[in-house]
Symmetry: C2
Subunit: 685 residues, 2 copies
């Protein structure tokens, strides 16, 4: 089975990258429109590239330091091989982000131009751009995993894990840095431009507008891509490691190799499914946009299920393990069922998120209603909605975990994570399509195109917002399952080395870890939110300076220094990402040295539990505030410009760092801490 | 030792109640001032009594139902004896709240009158009123524990636990109901009176002002008292149960009785310390107010330490237990040291809370500064401050737990909880003194007394606010340790019945419990916050109606129908307390039946970890917003009436349900769930 897995994984990964390349070439051949559009788009592209370049330079230092630490550290799973995998993981994550973002910026202008003639072509371009990103993520991820597994061998999966660690590190900084960038630029543009100078949104006279558009790409495209790249890689490797250990490794008669092959095959078939699913996404009718995207995702899922039925039929993926003192055998169809549960769980959690945030549903409308009595009631209600929104996803997640465990043991839980992420090629495409549409709309505005164009891009954008909400729920759900898969590997590996190892919550080390772990997401969020505040302040001062010092800017006779704003946001966000980033890497190390693997395990569990809640709370509160504002802008409760609207704008502003900076970074925090724990585990034993 | 403990506990508890009675008589003999004052005070008293009466009637139904359930349930620790203890616990808690609140309302008017001639007497009355409450709480608590222990015997401590369950149930409803009442009245009074009608705060023309003052008593006095009564009773009984089990019960040569006697002696000596400490609280100089209160607390702590040195010298309190497969002996001085750690940990955590919320410290001042750019930045910064504020208390708590565990094992951790709460007689007195001073100020305003009087009560009130902040941190810290003590009893008792019982976090049942448990504080908070919104809305409508329909009210020619507002707040808050209350009681039962004691244990741990964070987050964010507003009102950043001030008012309003409703209720949620789990444990085994 393993050989088949290698062939499929390497073949389909290469194919995915090839397909991404063709799609990108196809996008580049589309018409770019007027010179004015080109000039604006170029500024955005250059800004985004400048940000990524600077970011990658800084991260290179971090990667180099960690490389040396891993290379010289002694213990199983540490050393030069892990260090090399680490660097490659970091490179692959960076590359995926780079390609995804370049494509997104190139696609935005062409989407705008295509929207001048109709909806179908515009959708096609925006979705193709998202697909490039999605295919790059799964292609690079699968390629990296398969190559390292082939070179290092199945008995050294803990060294392959370095690849996942590399991906995580980059992801954290990209998510945090991108999140700070986008919100600092957004706040700066809105507060000085809209509120103080009284010029409309996306007005070319506003020096921060370019930075704001750069931010959408940096935060939503590159950040989300890095986040899910990490989930994908982390869940596959953690499941392989677990399968190898549970399957009995390479002992005679063991089933370890097959259990390693299974998640690899799942990932590979997921690529095929995603690829085929993209062909279902076609429409010229904007009322069917959402439906078109969703049917693509469903087709991909159906293909994965069908493919895995075949795989499960032809191989033996059963295993035996000790559960609560008894030897239990888990059959292969249990594992299969678990991955199917995972596949649909992600979509269902996403749908719940949509319910809590959509402007067509009660929660967001209720917040809009509460805006009538002022910003305080808007805020209270938004916070309460965010807090309420955690219950259903958590219950679903818990039931899903229980279901997968009953079906396939802890290997089943990990497979659910891989199953959820298997269709990432298309689901990330659906997700990344939103920011492209958003940017296309901004471009139409800045270039002064026909209102009809903006109407078409708005239709795309509205669908993009819905899919983005679903995507956020999906990202949190998959992060939770991936962290759980890593956590299960952590405990299984430790038990393998020390059979009497236990993480009883009534052991005070574990309890202390649990408390500290539950504290970290709160502290981390506060760091991220304050960082936005500080970065935004520098931006506000710069925009004010330009309005003051550049003669004729407000009259439209002079050009703003947009590059300066991009630079300020870049410098600010990169400086601010250091503290939260280091916290995530150092916390597990400190805990491990101080309270051993028991304390560390407790910390991971605590951070997982409270991190998932905080991520759901912040993402959903932010989304609901945003859509409550949109609901009022659509003419309800007094409409745009009314007192209700002003109150709703306050809620939306509060929600921004919630949903775009702190919330999504928590996904990576919980995964990264688990990987750091798993990698450096030998040092604490 | 146990006989000595009975004598001291019964004797000192009776003495505390006797002393409370004398103090109350002394208060009643003070001058009540003018007729106008008397009339207003009477309205507040009647409102508070009406609320409590209605509340107790409703709770009687709940108590009756649970009584029957416990009485007929089969299993060790269930049955009629536990049911009787349950009813008595509920009665004792209710009685303590009743006495405390009556005294507080009677003391407020006399404090106002005393403030007409000087500060010393006013302080004396306000503090005496707090002391009555404090002594009643420890007196009734200790009396109940000692009597039931004496009647049921040491081998039936799990039946004595019913007393704690009764106290918890009442506490939860009192905290939630009182919290909703006070904020609904507050919001109603402010929004219609101050904002819409433009009349000053505490203006007698405002129909909701009486309800607002009633709310202060109902929420801050009765709610806080019930909360800490529960902590006190819960920690003592949990520690006795743990001591009995760890000490080997009544097996020959066991040390169980002594380990039961130790927390009882600690509680008794705490009463003596608190009583003696109160004599240190005397000053005529308002700059030394805080110092006077603090020196009383320190003296009480010193007496407890000295007394426990003597107790520890004369008895044998050592025990042996299995720790991670090895038999470990813990000496008596380790237990002693653990209780000393607990004694000071509470005060230190309280001081940290003060740092994050005080208007003289950077965090609140920073929020005030951020108000200059509007309410959104004020809110973002307040939320970030609340999130940041969790780290230090959590680290202190974790280190404290570790320290106590190293010194005295899990018995040591539980003793730390009792140690922290041993000086409750005086620390609750210091705490409950704030609302009395606050009410006294309101009375001075409403009765139109000399501004000098208001100045003096303001000095008391300012100190009251600081001690209230410390008290909130203390309440959270003690709730965490009490919940942990109960949790440790839960796991020790279960292990006693099933020696191979384990709560490994890598057991999916435990992990599911952990996730659901971490979710509950979020969901519970959202219920509480929405409840405030709904109750406030009825209040707003009623105040508007009175302004509209009562002729001459705004001109001061007619009296408002204050009783109607009290009734609306009462009905609203009692209706709204049902859902969150039932959630707390039912969640552990559902979890226990569905996922057994492992799932239940995971849930308790998850709720403890995330509940402590949420409680700290909400209490400190709320306190910081409140004081940021006060800092601006003191003339900074534009002062009262400026744009900054308006922004700060929004923050303060958002903070109200945070700090006074949802936040403090979480303390009880985590304790109550632990008790429910412990009581109904036999049903899940």
């Amino acid at each position: 089975m393993l050989i088949l897995a290698y062939i499929l994984a390497l073949g389909l990964a290469t194919f995915a990258l090839f397909r991404a390349k063709t799609l990108q070439t196809w996008i580049l051949k589309r018409d770019e429109g007027t010179d004015k559009m080109k000039r604006i788009a170029k500024q955005i592209q250059q800004g985004a590239i400048a940000f990524l370049k600077t970011e990658y330079k800084r991260l290179a230092v971090f990667v180099a330091v960690v490389f040396v630490i891993i290379a010289v550290a002694k213990g199983p799973g540490l050393g030069p091989k892990t260090a090399i995998a680490f660097v490659c993981g970091a490179l692959a994550s960076g590359l995926a982000g780079w390609i995804g973002m370049r494509t997104a910026t190139q696609a935005a202008i062409r989407t705008t131009q295509a929207a001048t003639s109709g909806l179908g072509e515009a959708l096609h371009i925006a979705f193709a751009s998202g697909t490039v990103m999605g295919l790059c993520v799964v292609g690079l991820g699968m390629l990296g995993i398969a190559i390292f597994l082939l070179i290092y061998g199945t008995s050294h999966i803990n060294e392959v894990l370095g690849f996942s660690f590399g991906a995580s590190s980059i992801a954290l900084f990209a998510r945090v840095g991108g999140g700070i960038f986008t919100k600092a630029a957004d706040v700066g543009a809105d507060l000085v431009g809209k509120v103080e100078a009284g010029i409309p949104e996306d007005d070319p006279r506003n020096p921060a507008v370019i930075a704001d558009n750069v931010g959408d790409n940096v935060g939503d495209v590159a950040g989300m891509g890095a986040d899910l790249f990490e989930s994908f890689v982390g869940s596959v490797i953690a499941t392989m490691l677990l399968g190898w250990t549970l399957g009995g490794g390479d002992a005679p008669g063991s089933n370890g190799e097959n259990l390693v092959a299974y998640p690899l095959l799942l990932g590979a078939i997921g690529i095929a499914g995603s690829f085929l699913g993209t062909f279902r996404v076609k429409t010229n009718d904007d009322s069917k946009l959402h439906h078109a995207l969703f049917s693509g995702l469903l087709s991909a899922s159906a293909i994965v299920v069908a493919g895995m039925v075949v795989v499960t039929l032809i191989g033996d993926f059963s295993y035996k393990t000790m559960v609560e003192g008894k030897l239990v055998e888990y059959g292969k169809w249990g594992s299969f069922a678990a991955l199917v549960v995972g596949l649909f769980l992600g979509v269902i959690i996403g749908k719940v998120t949509e319910f809590y945030t959509s402007e067509q549903m009660k929660p967001a409308q209720e917040i809009a209603k509460q805006s009538e009595t002022g910003s305080a009631t808007n805020i209270i209600h938004g916070l309460a909605t965010g807090m309420a929104s955690v219950w259903l996803p958590t219950v679903l997640l818990a039931l899903g975990i229980w279901c997968c465990y009953s079906l396939g043991g802890i290997y089943g839980i990990s497979l659910a994570a891989v199953g959820m992420l298997s269709t990432l090629g298309i689901s990330l495409g659906i997700d990344a399509f939103g920011p492209v549409a958003d940017n296309a709309g901004g471009l139409a505005e800045m270039a002064g195109l026909d209102p009809e164009v903006r109407q078409r891009t708005d239709a795309l954008d509205a669908t993009g917002n819905t899919t983005a909400a679903i995507g956020k729920g999906f990202a949190i759900g998959s992060a939770a399952l991936t962290a759980l898969a890593l956590f299960n590997s952590f405990s299984t590996v430790t038990k393998h080395a020390h059979p009497d190892f236990a993480m009883n919550i009534d052991n005070p080390r574990v309890m202390i870890g649990l408390l500290i772990g539950a504290m970290l997401p709160f502290f981390f969020s506060s760091l991220a939110m304050r960082a936005v505040g500080r970065a935004a302040n520098s931006m506000i001062e710069e925009v004010r300076r330009q309005f003051r010092e550049i003669k004729g800017l407000l009259e439209g006779d002079a050009e703003p220094e947009a590059a300066k704003c991009v630079e300020i946001a870049t410098v600010g966000s990169l400086r601010e990402m250091i503290a939260p980033g280091l916290l995530a890497v150092l916390a597990p190390l400190i805990m491990g040295f101080a309270f051993g693997p028991e304390g560390l395990g407790g910390m991971l569990a605590g951070a997982l539990a409270s991190g998932v809640m905080m991520a759901l709370f912040m993402a959903n509160a932010g989304g609901a505030w945003d859509n409550a504002k949109k609901f009022i802008e659509a003419g309800n409760h007094g409409g745009k410009g009314s007192e209700s609207h002003k109150a709703a704008v306050v809620g939306d502003t509060v929600g921004d760092p919630f949903k775009d900076t702190a919330g999504p970074s928590l996904n990576i925090l919980i995964k990264l801490m688990s990987i750091v724990a798993l990698i450096f585990l030998p040092l604490f034993l």
